[in-house]
Subunit: 342 residues, 2 copies
DNA sequence: TTGTAAGCGTTATCAC
DNA sequence: GTGATAACGCTTACAA
């Protein structure tokens, strides 16, 4: 504000070269060679003058904004990703910076009109999109798909042609339930993290079922309840499970937050964890280790997820052809006290 | 991608007017009159063609990016704001959209070199900045101040000329401690949310002190401990308080997260809340009502904070002179079970 | 190896 | 009321 803006022309003049050269040097253009002396000269002058190219001008000329957009949907899912939002943003911003990119964030209503994302792409505000928490029935997302705009999903949308990064929910759930089985439980309930229309939810339930059946146990629908992202849902669904006779001896709750709600229902009933009922959560939110008893949970590599998604997107933007279209990242179980001596 | 890009020229041609007219209509320029017929015509054609102005071109020509930047510092403070980040982002994005703006997010290392923010402003990537969690000793922030770039602080920086929005930490703390006093407590400890170099921390401690002294009680430094944003710090500091003889009968913990840590220290010692020691937290994070016992806490209007900050910034950008420079928003106490029958 | 010149798609300043 | 025309600051063929 105070000082007059420094343009590339000024840098050129001070360095005694043309604007082309300045641009070539500062953008490290792979082709064209510049003498080491000129290069150094330009860089030094630019530094001295505090020259920073104007983003809009650059974008207009090069057809690249050097900005990527993170799109979140304003949905119940939201609540669940809260715990990781900071990690994800952190990782996204850092990875972006490493690649000379910036991050723009947008939150859209679920089930909005078909054009929500297209406004972003048509305005050419961004070079690519990272979309968090896709749902089957999102029409706007399909519009985006047709548009062919560089997009990476954090999560999955089976049947869609999008690139995506996700955790292997099914394998993770199997891991968690196998842990309970190993401890001798045979009557294991499941509370999902969300309605079954969410892929993550369906996959975790499937993992639960496979784990159960893989040891010859019977899958019993009465032992399955559907959570809805929040504590309340866990509380309510666990209460219903406790009406069963006999009550389950263990439960796999596919979300820590939902599990916290379940825990308060168990406590309210005067039952003990893991004495009367063992519990395994999912997500390993920071709080999991501080609750009483500390919750055994599947740890979710949020930062890795974001980093991988980001790098995938950059490849896509640079017209690369990433080899893997749908990546699944591994998880591990963090054993604490909610299942008894493990 | 599929279809050729539609430019304002095409809209003009289809509507049988000039590009100027298109621009005038679409931007609703206050001066210049356009016949109602022409106006309708242009708007309709633009809609039909799916015309969206290219952001970069607009920015270059108008010197306005229609983007604001949210800057977070990658610091311990971070942990505390986690719980509200979603609410804040949500509110910020919504308010921005209402004003035709977008949100860019940046996370910078604490104590980075003097130019971190200037890169954003010099590149003219954004029209204004919302800065969350300022610290006294941030040199880069002072550089930003000198630069005179439109900036609004969420938080406070006494002595600085920045516009700011914050909660009234002192009043809020007084409220919380007054509640404990009203319940008959006279030996009330305090664990701060953070090191005292944070204004919020200092203000809350001051509120505690004023509440204590306003009823003729003695301020006792031995009853004051310093938390550090996280659960661990609450655990450690409460442990130290429990070594006192006699132990305090109540504690004001200036952060829910820190309070959760304190609770586990109390539990570990075999003491009961509120039986042996009453507790009031601060922030009213979502989890506060689900912990056992549900924590009485000062509720923090995160979304309002963000909305007000955003609107203030927009006024600033439009060269307005907001009447209030430093706004303080009110809070209220949410009474639950951690202080006994209230 | 470096310079010239033509865009990039708007907005804004004037005349008409 | 409306329409040329010049910025806006940079990138990038193409020449030199």
């Amino acid at each position: 504000m105070a000082s007059k803006r420094i343009t590339s022309l000024e840098v050129a003049q001070h360095a005694g070269v043309s604007r082309t050269t300045v641009s070539l040097v500062l953008n490290d253009v792979p082709g064209a060679q510049i003498s080491e002396r000129t290069r150094k000269r330009v860089i030094q002058v630019a530094e001295e003058l505090g020259y920073v190219p104007v983003a809009a001008a650059r974008a207009l000329a090069s057809q690249r904004t050097h900005v990527i957009g993170l799109i979140l949907t304003r949905s119940p899912h939201h609540i669940a990703s809260d715990a990781f939002l900071t990690q994800i943003l952190d990782s996204l911003v850092e990875t972006s910076h490493q690649n000379g990119m910036r991050l723009m964030i947008d939150i859209v209503e679920e089930m909005h009109h078909r054009d929500v994302y297209l406004d972003l792409t048509r305005a050419r505000s961004i070079d690519g999109i990272i979309f968090s928490g896709p749902k089957f029935d999102d029409q706007a997302l399909h519009a985006l798909e047709e548009d062919g705009f560089p997009t990476v999903l954090m999560g999955q949308l089976p049947g869609a042609s999008f690139y995506s990064v996700d955790i292997d929910n099914r394998a993770a759930a199997k891991l968690a339930v196998a842990h309970l089985i190993m401890l001798g439980h045979t009557r294991i309930a499941c509370i999902t993290n969300a309605p079954i229309s969410y892929t993550a939810s369906a996959d975790r339930l499937q993992g639960y079922r496979e784990a159960i059946e893989s040891v010859g146990l019977q899958f019993d629908p009465r032992l399955v309840r559907y959570g809805n992202f929040d504590l309340e849902s866990g509380y309510i669904q666990m209460k219903r499970l406790l009406e069963l006779n006999p009550i389950p001896s263990a439960a796999f709750v596919a979300s820590d937050v939902v599990a916290f709600g379940a825990m308060s229902a168990i406590r309210e009933r005067g039952l003990s964890i893991p004495g009367d009922i063992a519990l395994v959560g999912f997500d390993d939110v920071p709080f999991a280790r501080y609750i009483d008893p500390p919750l055994t949970s599947v740890s979710l590599p949020a930062a890795d997820l974001a980093r991988v998604a980001c790098n995938l997107l950059f490849e896509l933007i640079q017209e690369g052809q990433p080899p893997e279209r749908n990546l699944l990242l591994g998880t591990h179980l963090v054993v604490r006290k909610s299942c008894g001596a493990g």
